[in-house]
Symmetry: C2
Subunit: 208 residues, 2 copies
């Protein structure tokens, strides 16, 4: 309880900083391997004029940050050393390695975990949960805390849909049962399906 | 620290009970949707004469237990109500709902989470980590605690391999870098590839 209170205080400070600097911030959440980094690899070049930055979070390695750095986008890697989620303090410290005056759109790619990260406010505007078509359409009913905490749900790997028993209507119905306010995007980070619409939506979320 | 010590005591008690009753126990671990339940749906009919039982663990619902019950296999569902892992106490309590005298092979399907469950001993003989071909072959390097804690690694969804950039040699090399003792099986719970070999291995692990 004390941990969350402390976290909420730091998250509020982060949020104030982001508001002062007119930075729109999203917290990307999913199971391991749903395609968070691949989505960023596809999106960031499409958002080049929006001046993006990325905070990466992983248990080990800076492999994801290296993939982002290859796109010439400012990125910082948080290595949690086994920790199962990012918290507002880790994010605050990481921000000191970015020039926030040059960033208008910040993505925080959280640790791959469909449970624990749902409970930690980082100061973001919205949590975005990503589910891929290969994971099963029952997950919103089973991993409820994440789908309740998110405001947007991206269904990724639509190119694999023909080889799965995943049903788009079912996963949406299941997710809306848990959180009726969820907004959906269906995409393939690999083939580019739906990415125009998604990148247009991100642009619409920038401070005017 | 106190929590783990308490958990280890209960795990030891569980392990003693299993040894007395000659029950071989495996702890199945993976990301959400890697195919733990689907693997059991395929395996349990192949192990019918081995007298199996299942303990299911999920944040919410008994959907997985219902899938197992449909096979006429004794099963009990633990609902963690948001908890990110099973622990030895939850398992001990669940065991009271199974007739252990009729069971020789017990599967514990843990909560879908590639991080937290790795740190909790339930009293099992071995932890088995399942990774599917759609999750990326870099995961053993990034989610190290799980691959280090496991003794067996099942690579599932081999039927989807042609549509992924997943490399079997790479994932094995990455996993062996983290844990040189890992034993591998490559299977498709959907098409049945590799399942004969896997079920034969489970039979070989029974008490004589
Ligand atoms: N077919 C297909 N594969 C995809 C798509 N998006 C990602 N992948 C693949 O999914 C695997 C995992 O992708 P990542 O981008 O590493 O996933 P992630 O969510 O960032 O994973 P972690 O950060 O390790 O939790 C890789 O093999 C990608 O090539 C997609 O739209 N279609
Ligand atoms: N193509 C293919 N799909 C599979 C295979 N195994 C499982 N699936 C699919 O993967 C999805 C998830 O399977 P589940 O068995 O529910 O996965 P799980 O690991 O038990 O998931 P949780 O218990 O919710 O964490 C479902 O849509 C299955 O049909 C496989 O070998 N090949
Ligand atoms: Mg990633
Ligand atoms: Mg399951």
């Amino acid at each position: 309880r004390k941990i969350l209170e402390k976290n909420d205080q730091l998250a509020t400070q982060n949020r104030q900083l982001f508001a002062e600097k007119h930075i729109t911030v999203f917290n990307l959440l999913s199971s391991p391997g749903s395609g968070k980094t691949t989505l960023l690899e596809k999106l960031l070049p499409m958002l080049a004029e929006s001046r993006c930055g990325v905070v990466e979070g992983d248990l080990q390695t800076d492999r994801d940050a290296q993939r982002i750095a290859a796109l010439n986008v400012p990125v910082v890697q948080i290595v949690t050393n086994g920790g199962c989620h990012l918290d507002a303090g880790l994010v605050r410290d990481a921000l000191t390695n970015l020039d926030l005056d040059t960033i208008r759109l910040l993505f925080i790619e959280n640790v791959g975990n469909l449970v624990c990260p749902a409970g930690y406010d980082l100061g973001e505007q919205k949590k975005i949960v990503i589910i891929s078509t290969t994971e099963g359409d029952d997950k919103p009913l089973k991993y409820t805390t994440m789908f309740r905490a998110a405001r947007v749900c991206i269904i990724n790997k639509m190119d694999l849909l023909p080889w799965t028993d995943f049903n788009i209507e079912t996963v949406k119905r299941n997710a809306l049962q848990i959180n009726p306010d969820l907004q959906f995007f269906t995409v393939s980070a690999k083939t580019g399906t739906g990415m125009q619409e998604l990148s247009a939506w991100f642009k619409s979320q920038l401070y005017k």
